[in-house]
Symmetry: C2
DNA sequence: GGTTTGAGATTTAACGATAAACCTCCGTTA
DNA sequence: TAACGGAGGTTTATCGTTAAATCTCAAACC
């Protein structure tokens, strides 16, 4: 007693099945269903029959077969190094959202490769990539030379925030120096003069650029730079917290900074925590500013002033640049790509930055036995 | 003058190329390079020659061809509905990290499909899935009946936090009622009696379960339930903020809650903001607790007490359950899957919850012309 | 010395789609 | 009347891999 309602076929229908059902060859079905130059090649009546058959059989093209024949996977790879705890982070999420948006718009699939670190794990990358993606987006703020050498041969690459140049690839970055300079200049304009910079790890291109921006803003305002007011920390929240605690302990009794500019949002949040732990209020006692404008900047109380990088837009753009390399427009011979595209940053002013306190405060002495280490 | 250093071949090497270079057939190369039952089938000397040739030619298997022949893509799809602004959120990030970890471990690729909404966009899903993934993980807290009907035919499905049952699929969820009950019981144990619940949208299974947990904890402590102390809000930060502002305005002058339990972390952060805006401190005046333990819970100051769902583990498990359905173990006939797997939740106590204030406070009257709407 | 045996390969046939060359009419045109 | 041309298809070859069947030849056995 065959059920008429849901006759679930054991195997998915192929083009040949559709053709047979419509009384034509598989090839005719292929032409119709890809709808490219349909009108001229196939009679309207046949066309209708084929479409009806395809619908009836619930035909879906087999991606693997198509990829094999076309020699294109219609898939973009995204490679990133995972953070502490093996997790991708806020920064990745923002970029990835942009990538997905553009990829979906251009009918490309997206597959994600995670690596534990560039040094060793990068060797796996060619094996993961070759033959299954058309192009690769490399999220590369902490790229290593070994990784660059190990990159896959036959796959075009676009990088985001690359830490070092990759021959033949396009890099997308934001104007971090200008962003940092802008934020510090804003602090100065609001009356701050004693501005501490809690920077990211020395050696990382992004951290260095933000330091340059900080120094440029100081110089422009003729505020002397003190090496002691430039603190190196990691990019994790706890590292920012710890770095500020250490600094405060070292400089107990000396003048308190009026503002703290951090190399990233997570670090800034760590600083806010450290300040709260020693009884200092933000922004009444100290203003705090971050960098990146990740989601986290809006989840603090008070909300964190920060420098926005257009991460979503950068992700989308990465997809578009990659696709343009994949299928060069018929018009242009070989589109000469600029190998760096710089995005502007933008000041995001929120409640964590206020005017400096009326009187100069001093760094509180740590309470014996208290928290804070 | 042929460069010997980097002779970049126009096309990637195929198995036939490797075979030719090693003086054997493509098939022999296939057997060796897949290393399955290698030892018995191929002579050691031949084996070595083939491996050498493969390395020399930088042979990489073509994923499309392999998928076509094997009828397996080695790829798992992840479908999620994007949030406001078309962005995937913290919850997704945590789950996705778990999925990626397990997928990488099992040498599966992962591709992400985003949908604007289940109602209409879900119809695209079969077209996206069929023929390019082996199985689908559906992140489905806001699934709709239309979406369930539109699901792809030939693709096994595992859901996370499904809002409604899907025939033939396995659902992974956490014990939200117990988690909510546990948190509210903890608040009661610390001395709170006036506990406001800012819940998620009515009708969402998760929100309802958390409400049930809240009521169960109250009942167990013989604290009467007041409908006015159950506020419905969205799951966005601003919706939580707005909902609390509205409530505070409505109940100005009446007794202030000692604690607020929110249906999710973002809402809790919104509430913390609203409290700060009317001059109330957390936790001195009001304790606040959230639900989910997303990354955001650790970026607030003070850090947010919350109910942890093991999102990472759930993501990993989803992959494993899916893979088990794909290739049933030779031993068992047809592994009878339980169609719901429940994960335990866990209380995460952080600084946003403290003891209730010594004296009963009242809801402050809104300052005329102040912020707060 | 003829038949087994089996390790060590090779050959053949899919897998499902695309690209390009190739028919087959029928209505025009020279 | 023969050649042409184009609309509407079909056939054939190919993409790179795997599964299954087949071949080959030397050693072992009766």
């Amino acid at each position: 007693m065959p059920s008429l309602k849901k006759r679930k076929p054991a195997r998915a229908a192929t083009l040949a099945d559709v053709g047979r059902a419509a009384g034509v060859s598989a090839m005719a079905a292929s032409v119709v269903l890809n709808a490219a130059q349909s009108s001229s090649r196939v009679a309207a009546a046949t066309r209708t029959r084929i479409l009806a058959a395809a619908r009836r059989l619930r035909y879906r093209p087999n991606a693997a077969a198509r990829a094999l024949a076309e020699r294109r996977m219609h898939t973009i790879g995204v490679a990133a190094v995972v953070d502490v705890g093996g997790e991708l982070n806020h920064y990745f999420l923002s970029v990835f959202n942009g990538i997905l948006e553009a990829a979906t718009r251009h009918r490309q699939n997206t597959t994600v490769f995670t690596l534990a670190d560039w040094e060793q794990d990068a060797a796996r990358l060619p094996g993961l990539c070759d033959g299954r993606i058309d192009g690769l987006i490399l999220i590369a703020p902490v790229l290593s030379p070994a990784a660059v050498r190990a990159l896959p041969d036959h796959t075009p690459v676009v990088t985001l925030h690359a830490n070092m140049p990759i021959p033949g690839s396009v890099n997308l970055e934001s104007d971090e120096e200008a962003g940092a300079c802008g934020m510090v200049s804003h602090l100065i304009a609001r009356g701050h003069r004693r501005i501490l910079h809690v920077a990211g790890p020395r050696g990382l291109l992004g951290a260095e650029r933000r330091i340059r921006g900080y120094r440029r803003a100081l110089a422009a305002a003729r505020i002397p730079f003190h090496a002691a007011w430039l603190v190196e920390a990691g990019y994790e929240m706890d590292e920012g917290r710890q770095a500020l605690h250490d600094w405060l302990r070292r400089f107990a009794g000396r003048p308190l900074p009026q503002a703290i500019f951090c190399g990233n949002d997570a670090g800034a949040i760590g600083c806010m925590e450290a300040l709260a732990e020693v009884g200092l209020r933000v922004p009444e006692d100290v203003s705090v500013a971050g960098f990146d404008d990740t989601l986290a900047a809006r989840t603090t109380v008070p909300q964190l002033a920060t420098v926005r990088q257009p991460l979503h837009a950068m992700g989308s753009r990465a997809v578009e640049v990659l696709l343009a390399r994949l299928r060069p427009r018929p018009g242009t011979r070989r589109p000469e790509f600029q190998n760096t595209i710089v995005f502007p940053t933008e000041l995001v002013l929120r409640a964590s930055v206020g005017p400096p306190p009326a009187s100069t405060k001093t760094v509180p002495r740590p309470a014996p036995g208290g928290r804070g280490s």
